[in-house]
C-alpha cells in the first residue's frame, strides 16, 4: 500500500481564486492511500518544494500528488523534488487544477468540486505507480553514412571534424553522386566540380573517414547508439590499397564498348574503368559483366600492364561487420524513366534528352568535351526546346509520373537556357512551363535574367507532342497566354524529368525499420520540428532521400543531420524515457500485431521456452520491446489483443483507475 502525500497549490490567486484549496486538501485526505495532505501558496517555489521534501521524510511518503498547474509546466520540477527527497521521480502525479480547472470555471463551488475529482484521479493513479528507472545504454562513437553524394560527403565531413570516426558506404565505385555529373550550379553558376572535388579529396584524406565504395549495406540490427551493420564490399577485382589510379589498364583494355554510366550511356567506357578523372577513391574497377577475363578466362591484359600488381581476378565479395552509434541515410535521387512518355518521343529520337543528359553534354569532361552538339549527328543545334514538369505534378497516373513537384527543375532549366544563350547566341531557346517556381535566395532574379538579359523565350503552356521528322523534332505546344497552338521545328528537346528516390532506398528502409511515404521518400520524425531525424531513433536523414532538394538545401540538411549525430555521439550513455511499452511474456501470443503498429521498430521477436501446465515445456514466439528505441506512444498496447503489452507510466490499470475515480 502506498503512503501518499497530497499537496494543493494556490498559485497565488490563480487557483485559490476559484478553487477552495483547503477544501480540496481536506477532501483528498480520506482517499485510499493518502496519509498526508497540505496546501501552500506556491508549491513550485523553493519553500514549496522543501515542504514536499520534509513531508516525504516525516510521513515516509511513497507517492506524491501535486494539485497545481499543468504537468507540462512543472511535472519535471516536482519529479526533481521527489528525487531530492529520495523518492523515485516517477512516483509523482500532477492534478491539473489550474489550466483545466480554475482558469476555465468561474464559480468556487464548481471549481472546487472538479478539483477534488481531478485530485482523486491523480491519487488513484499514484496508488498504482511503480518506481521507474530509465534504461541506460552505451553509445558506440562511430557514425555510418549511407550514400556518398554531396549530402553524405557534407555529413561525414562535419561529423569527422567534430572528432568522431565516420564510414561512408557508396554503392558506386566513386563518391560524388549526382553533383559530380553536373556542369554548373545555380544561381551562382560556379562549376560543380570545382566546389565538389575539393570536398571529395577532404573526405579521402580525412583520418577519421573511411570510404567503402562499391559497397552496400547488407543488414542492420541493434538500436540507437548500438547498431550492428553488415556491409557488403563488392569485388572490384582491383586491390584498392595497391592501385595507384594511373589508368594504364584502362587504356589497354580491349573491351571498349561498354555504355558509360557516368555519361548516362552517351559514350562508352572500358571493362576496367575509373568513372571520372577526380574519382575518389581513384581506383580502377573491373565490370565483371563485361570483362572477358572474368567471364571466359581469356584476356588478362590489365593484369599484365599493371605495374603495381593491383589486379586480382579472384577477388570475392567481402562482408564487413562494424558497430555504429548513429546512421545517416543519404541515398539521394534519380531522374525517373522517360520510357512511358511516348508523347515526347524520348525513345524514338536521340535528340530528345533529359536535363541530366544535357548537363553531361555541356560538361567539359562530358562526351562532347563541353560542346553542345546534337547526340544524333553531332551537329550544333539551333533551336532548343526545354519542357518542364515532365512527370512531376502528375496526379493521374502513378505508374508514369509523380504527384509531387520535383522542386529543382525550374531553376536548372533556367540555368541551362541561360548558359546556352550565353555560349551560343545563335540558338533559339524555348522553355515551356506550367508555373515557374523560384523560391530561394537570388532564384527569381536568376530566372528573370534568363528572360530579360539572355532572351530565353518562356512560354506558358505544355508541350503536347514531339514528333521526329527528318532531322527535326516537330514540337507541338500550346501558348496559353496568347491562346495559340505553337509548332516549332526544334533540333534538340530537353525534358526536365521528375526526380524520385534512389531504388536502393526502399530495401534500406526495411533494414533500418525507418518509415517511408508512398513515394519512397524517408519520413522525418516530425515534419516541422525534427526534419532531419527519422522516427527510428539513431537514424538521420540527409539530402534528397527525404524529399526533392537543391544543393544548398541538401548541404544545410546534411550539416543539420551531422549536428544531430554529433549531439548523440558525444554522450557516453543514453538515458531512455522509462515510460515505454513492456510485454508480459506469459501473455504474449507472438502475433506481430504490436510490431506492425510500432513506428520505431522497437519490437522484435524471440523464441522462448515456457513451462506448460502439464509440466512439459514449449517454445513460443514472444515480443520484446527495446526500451532504448521505444518512444512510449502506446499504439502497441491497443493492437495487442491479449493485453500482454502495457505502457509503463500510463498502464491499463492506471488509466482505468483514473476513469473510475472521475466517474464515481
Amino acid at each position: 500500500m502506498q503512503r501518499i502525500g497530497v499537496f494543493v497549490c494556490w498559485c497565488g490567486s490563480n487557483i485559490a481564486g476559484t478553487v477552495d484549496v483547503k477544501a480540496v486538501a481536506e477532501a483528498l485526505k480520506n482517499e485510499p492511500g493518502v496519509v498526508y495532505s497540505a496546501n501552500y501558496q506556491y508549491m513550485c517555489s523553493q519553500a514549496g518544494q522543501n515542504m514536499i521534501i520534509e513531508a516525504v521524510k516525516e510521513h515516509k511518503l511513497t507517492g506524491i500528488v501535486v494539485c497545481s498547474c499543468s504537468p507540462r509546466m512543472h511535472e519535471a520540477t516536482f519529479r526533481k523534488t521527489a528525487e531530492a527527497a529520495g523518492l523515485n521521480p516517477y512516483m509523482v502525479e500532477i492534478a491539473n487544477i489550474r489550466e483545466q480547472c480554475s482558469w476555465v470555471h468561474k464559480d468556487m463551488a464548481t471549481g472546487t468540486e472538479k478539483a477534488i475529482i481531478l485530485g482523486k484521479a491523480a491519487v488513484a493513479k499514484v496508488n498504482l505507480n511503480a518506481p521507474l528507472t530509465p534504461g541506460e545504454s552505451p553509445v558506440t562513437k562511430r557514425a555510418l553514412v549511407i550514400g556518398g553524394g554531396i549530402a553524405g560527403i557534407q555529413t561525414a565531413l562535419d561529423i569527422a571534424e567534430a572528432g568522431f570516426p565516420v564510414d561512408i558506404v557508396e554503392k558506386n565505385p566513386t563518391i560524388g553522386g549526382k553533383m559530380a555529373q553536373l556542369d554548373k550550379t545555380f544561381p551562382t553558376l560556379d562549376c560543380a566540380a570545382c566546389i565538389l572535388t575539393p570536398k571529395m579529396v577532404d573526405v579521402a584524406q580525412h583520418e577519421k573517414i573511411r570510404i567503402f565504395s562499391y559497397s552496400e549495406v547488407e543488414d542492420v540490427t541493434g538500436f540507437v547508439g548500438n547498431f550492428d551493420v553488415k556491409i557488403k564490399k563488392r569485388a572490384r577485382f582491383v586491390k584498392e590499397d595497391v592501385c595507384t589510379g594511373c589508368g594504364a589498364c584502362v587504356e589497354k583494355c580491349p573491351m571498349k564498348k561498354i555504355p558509360n554510366e557516368f555519361n548516362l550511356g552517351m559514350n562508352n567506357r572500358t571493362a576496367i574503368y575509373i568513372p571520372f578523372a577526380q574519382a575518389v577513391p581513384k581506383v580502377a574497377t573491373i565490370d565483371a559483366n563485361a570483362c572477358n577475363m572474368i567471364k571466359n578466362g581469356k584476356c588478362g591484359i590489365c593484369s599484365k600492364v599493371c605495374t603495381a600488381g593491383a589486379i586480382d581476378y579472384t577477388q570475392k565479395d567481402e562482408i564487413i561487420s562494424e558497430k555504429y552509434g548513429a546512421i545517416v541515410v543519404a541515398t539521394g535521387f534519380n531522374p525517373i524513366s522517360m520510357d512511358k512518355f511516348d508523347e515526347f518521343a524520348y525513345n524514338q529520337s536521340k535528340d530528345v534528352i533529359t536535363s541530366l543528359e544535357f548537363e553531361r553534354l555541356t560538361n567539359a569532361a562530358g562526351p562532347t568535351a563541353g560542346k553542345l552538339l546534337r547526340p544524333s549527328d553531332l551537329e550544333h543545334p539551333h533551336t532548343i526546346v526545354f519542357v518542364q514538369c515532365v512527370g512531376s505534378r502528375c496526379a493521374s497516373c502513378a505508374e508514369k509520373g509523380k504527384e509531387y513537384c520535383s522542386k529543382i527543375c525550374c531553376m536548372y532549366t533556367a540555368k541551362h537556357a541561360m548558359l546556352t544563350r550565353d555560349k551560343y547566341p545563335d540558338t533559339e531557346v524555348y522553355v515551356f512551363y506550367i508555373d515557374v517556381r523560384t523560391p530561394g535566395k537570388n532564384f527569381d532574379e536568376f530566372y528573370r535574367r534568363a528572360v530579360e538579359e539572355y532572351g530565353v523565350k518562356y512560354i506558358k503552356g505544355m508541350v503536347g507532342k514531339v514528333s521526329p521528322e527528318g532531322k527535326k523534332l516537330k514540337v507541338q505546344a500550346s501558348d496559353l497566354l496568347n491562346n495559340k497552338q505553337i509548332k516549332i521545328d526544334a533540333d534538340l528537346v530537353v525534358l526536365a524529368a521528375a526526380i524520385e528516390p534512389d531504388k536502393s532506398a526502399r530495401p534500406l528502409a526495411t533494414k533500418l525499420t525507418a518509415s517511408m511515404d508512398t513515394n519512397d521518400f524517408f519520413t522525418e520524425a516530425h515534419p516541422k520540428l525534427r526534419p532531419v531525424e527519422s522516427p527510428t531513433a539513431g537514424v538521420f536523414l540527409s539530402g534528397a532521400c527525404q524529399g526533392p532538394k537543391d544543393i544548398p538545401e541538401t548541404v544545410s540538411q546534411a550539416s543539420a543531420a551531422a549536428a544531430k549525430v554529433i549531439g548523440l555521439l558525444v554522450k557516453d550513455k543514453l538515458k531512455g524515457n522509462p515510460c515505454v511499452a513492456r510485454s508480459n511474456e506469459l501473455m504474449c501470443n507472438g502475433c506481430s500485431s504490436c510490431e506492425r503498429v510500432c513506428p520505431y521498430g522497437a519490437i522484435t521477436y524471440e523464441d522462448k521456452e515456457f513451462r506448460m501446465p502439464d509440466r512439459t515445456t514449449k517454445v513460443r514466439r514472444i515480443a520484446k520491446v527495446n526500451p532504448a528505441v521505444c518512444q512510449g506512444c502506446g499504439a502497441c498496447t491497443v493492437a495487442c489483443p491479449s493485453g500482454a503489452m502495457d505502457l509503463q507510466g500510463f498502464a491499463n490499470n492506471q488509466i482505468m483507475a483514473e476513469v473510475d475515480a472521475i466517474c464515481k
Binding site: 480520506n30 485510499p32 501446465p613 502439464d614 509440466r615 473510475d660 464515481k664
Partner: protein, 342 residues
C-alpha cells in the same frame, strides 16, 4: 386428480399468477423455450424442455451476497439480502425436478446455504410429465420416471386437457385455490398416456446405458484411464455443458468495486475453465484432461460416493445437444465405463 381443458389453461395461469409470480416455459423468437414470468399474452410452450435448466430459480447464475462500504479507514458491512416471496415454477420436467434433489444435498447439508434454502422454501414446483421424449433423453437410466415427476403438483398435458395432481400439502393448498377452474376426474387418460410414454422411453436409443462401472467406490478403477486424455483432447474448455446442466453446482465468489462500495457476489463457475478452483499456489488441475475428468468423475463417482449412490446426472440431454464439439457424458459412460476400459 383434477383437470381443465387446454383452452382454459390461460385462466388457470392467470389465477395462479395473481397472488404469486409464476414462471413457465415460453417460446422465444428463435423458437427455443425459456422460463419467463407469466403475464397476459405469454403462451405456455409445447417444447420438450427449456434451453436453460430450472436450477436458475434456486441457484441463479449470479447472486449478490453482501456489500461493504468504506468510509475513511472504516468498513461497514451491509446485508443486502431481501426476503424472498413465494413463486411458482410451472411445467418443470422430471429430470429438472430430480436435479433439485441433487442440488439440495449439496446446498442444504451442513453448513446450510441460506440463500439457496430461502429460495427453495419459497418455490412451488408444478412438474410436467413427458409424453414425447427426445432421442437425447436418458433419464430412465437414473431411475427417473418421466411420466410421473415429483414436485408439489404434477401436470399431465394431452392434446385437449391438462391434468393436475397435488403431491404435497403446499400443492394441495394451491390447487384448491383454483378449484373453480378445474374439475375432478379419474386417472384413466393419464395412465394411458403414461403407458404409451413408457413404451417410447424403453425404446430410446440411450435407454440402455450401462452404469455398472460407475458409482460408489469406483474412483481407483477409473481415475487413471488413458481415455480421459484422449476424449478431452478436442474439448474447447468452454462452460457450455456446465451452464446448461441442471445439476452442476460449482460457483466462484468475486467482488465488484465501485468507488467506496464493494459488492461481493457469487457466480457459476465451470470445472472446464482453466482457472477453476485456482488458488494462490496455482491450479490443482493443470490440464484440460484433468478438468474434464473432474466433471464426469464428479457426476458419476464422487457425488454418488458421498450421496448414497445417487448419480448427479439426470439425463436431460442438454449437454448432448449443446456441446460445441459433441462431447458428452453419454460418450464418457460408454467408453470409460465400457469394454474399452476393462
Amino acid at each position: 386428480m383434477r383437470k381443465c381443458s387446454i383452452d382454459n389453461i390461460n385462466d388457470v395461469l392467470k389465477a395462479l399468477s395473481e397472488k404469486i409470480p409464476l414462471y413457465l416455459p415460453v417460446d422465444r423468437l428463435d423458437g427455443k423455450a425459456t422460463y419467463q414470468k407469466y403475464q397476459e399474452g405469454k403462451v405456455w410452450s409445447n417444447a420438450l424442455n427449456t434451453e436453460r435448466s430450472a436450477k436458475d430459480f434456486f441457484f441463479p447464475q449470479m447472486e449478490n451476497l453482501v456489500e461493504f462500504k468504506t468510509q475513511g479507514k472504516n468498513v461497514e458491512v451491509i446485508d443486502i439480502r431481501d426476503e424472498k416471496q413465494d413463486f411458482i415454477i410451472f411445467g418443470v420436467r422430471a429430470c429438472d425436478v430430480k436435479s433439485f434433489e441433487i442440488l439440495d444435498r449439496v446446498f442444504l447439508s451442513q453448513p446450510v446455504d441460506t440463500f439457496y434454502k430461502s429460495r427453495r422454501e419459497h418455490g412451488i414446483i408444478f412438474s410436467l410429465a413427458c409424453s414425447k421424449p427426445n432421442e437425447t433423453c436418458f433419464c430412465s437410466v437414473f431411475n427417473i420416471d418421466a411420466t410421473a415427476p415429483a414436485g408439489d403438483v404434477t401436470l399431465w398435458k394431452t392434446e385437449t386437457e391438462v391434468f393436475f395432481k397435488a403431491n404435497t400439502e403446499k400443492g394441495e393448498k394451491i390447487l384448491s385455490e383454483i378449484d373453480s377452474l378445474t374439475t375432478e376426474c379419474g386417472e384413466e387418460t393419464v395412465n394411458e398416456q403414461r403407458e404409451k410414454t413408457k413404451k417410447i422411453l424403453s425404446k430410446l436409443p440411450l435407454s440402455d446405458l450401462d452404469l455398472t462401472n460407475f458409482g460408489v467406490g469406483k474412483t481407483k478403477a477409473l481415475f487413471d484411464s488413458p481415455l480421459w486424455k484422449e476424449m478431452s483432447s478436442t474439448c474447447l474448455g468452454c462452460g457450455t455443458c456446465t451452464f446448461v446442466c441442471p445439476t452442476c453446482q460449482c460457483y466462484d465468489i468475486k467482488e465488484f468495486k465501485v468507488g467506496d462500495k464493494v459488492t461481493r457476489f457469487r457466480c457459476w463457475d465451470s470445472c472446464m475453465y482453466s482457472d477453476f478452483t485456482k488458488m494462490a499456489h496455482g491450479n490443482p488441475r493443470l490440464t484440460q484432461a484433468e478438468r474434464f475428468r473432474q466433471r464426469f468423475m464428479h457426476k458419476l463417482v464422487y457425488y454418488p460416493d458421498n450421496n448414497d449412490g445417487l448419480f448427479s446426472c439426470v439425463g436431460c440431454g442438454r449437454c448432448l445437444s449443446k456441446c460445441p464439439i459433441s462431447m458428452n457424458i453419454v460418450k464418457v459412460i460408454k467408453r470409460v465405463g465400457g469394454k474399452e476400459n476393462e
